[in-house]
């Protein structure tokens, strides 16, 4: 083995942290004499230190978000395990809920297809979004007893469950905007591509096509779905009556 091979072997061992004490002495001697290896070590060290600059702590709230997502996935799993057993009861229950919601002409049965996750969209959020998307076109109702601009509820509340999460859905007109408002005792998990928003608890905003979603999680979590720009969602939610 010539000096070059020895140097190469020692360099590899050095980089791997595998040098024994005898080799470490050899390596030190070799480094003093070998410009190539010396350069390799310097560049290796420089590259490592540069890359270490890229470390960033995870954003605050990420652990909570992940925890929520896993909790909901767990709830969905339990719901799926029960799914077959409770299939008949579930669909009867949904049919009854659908009858209650007949005034808003929405087919509830399409909302919760087994309570499963829809891609990276939590099932409960997907159900609310689907409900809002399925609303037929409607004309703005006349102002209610609260006067112009006060929320006006249309139809009757509907209770549904998706992904193991139970919630009550209402259709409200807030001025000239029609919104679906879901209220649940459980927090609504952030879907993929959602982002945090100002608001109480863990508020977040997401967009699904033309639909804006605004959630404020708390003692009673609210999810608002409406066809308005994201910038208007928080203001829209602020006009809601207390949950």
């Amino acid at each position: 083995m010539d000096g070059h091979d020895t140097g190469h072997r020692l360099l590899a061992a050095f980089l791997a942290g595998d040098l024994n004490s005898a080799d470490a002495r050899l390596w030190d001697e070799h480094l003093l004499a070998c410009e190539h290896c010396w350069q390799a070590v310097r560049e290796d060290r420089a590259g490592r230190q540069a890359a270490q600059l890229l470390r960033q702590p995870p954003p605050a709230g990420l652990a909570d978000r992940v925890g929520f997502a896993v909790e909901l996935a767990a709830a969905g799993t339990v719901a799926q395990q029960r799914h077959c057993h409770g299939m008949r009861l579930r669909w009867r229950w949904l049919a009854a809920a659908g009858a209650v919601a007949a005034t808003v002409a929405v087919t509830v049965s399409v909302l919760v297809p087994g309570g499963r996750e829809t891609g990276t969209m939590p099932a409960a959020v997907a159900a609310v979004a689907r409900y809002a998307q399925e609303l037929p076109p409607a004309q703005q109702p006349a102002p209610g007893p609260g006067g112009p601009g006060a929320p006006v509820e249309v139809g009757s509340p509907v209770t549904v469950a998706a992904g193991g999460q139970q919630m009550v859905l209402r259709v409200l007109w807030l001025g000239d905007v029609e919104a679906v408002v879901a209220v649940s005792a459980q927090p609504f998990a952030m879907p993929a591509r959602a982002h945090g928003a100002a608001g109480p608890g863990m508020a977040w905003i997401a967009r699904l096509g033309s639909l804006g979603l605004y959630c404020r999680n708390g003692h009673a979590s609210e999810l608002v779905a409406a066809r308005v720009p994201e910038a208007q969602l928080a203001a829209l939610a602020a006009r809601l009556p207390p949950a």
Partner: protein, 181 residues
Amino acid sequence: MSVDHRAFLDATLPYLDVVYQVARHAAGDGQDPEDLVQETYLRAYEAFSSWRGQNMRAWLAAICLNAARSQARRRRRRPWEASFGVPLDAFPVADAAGRHADDVADVVIAGLDAQAVARCLALLPEPQRVCIVLMDVAGYTAREAAEALGCPRGTVLARVHRGRRRLARLLTEAGVSYGRP
């Protein structure tokens, strides 16, 4: 599956930091690293019942990298190349004062700009980039990185060494921080 999600979170949340480091650099164009972290944990939760006690950090990194790739495939884009597509000529022009090759390390160490490092890192071949992210950014050992990538430890070490040297040279060529106070 009947996995206690609390046990899962207890076992995996301590590694959120390293998963986030991997996700930040594995997320492709249009991918949010936080979404990728969430997707990683959801996939890990689904697969937790089949986890056989192998290195947890390596297992999570492998899932994160796979999730990034599959999401990128769905978007029909390549995951590791889209985020930092700024060409090197976007950097300050290198000082052309006859810098000698020996200066590489000193130049790079002298003052570094994380954004420039990210851009130069993006120019490395993916295998080298992944190994650097795992070992130098996320703090994995070579053995853990090898486990996550499913390749021999020696391969990881060779890739990370070549990648570091190339990264150092790219930074030097880009004139990063050279001559700055």
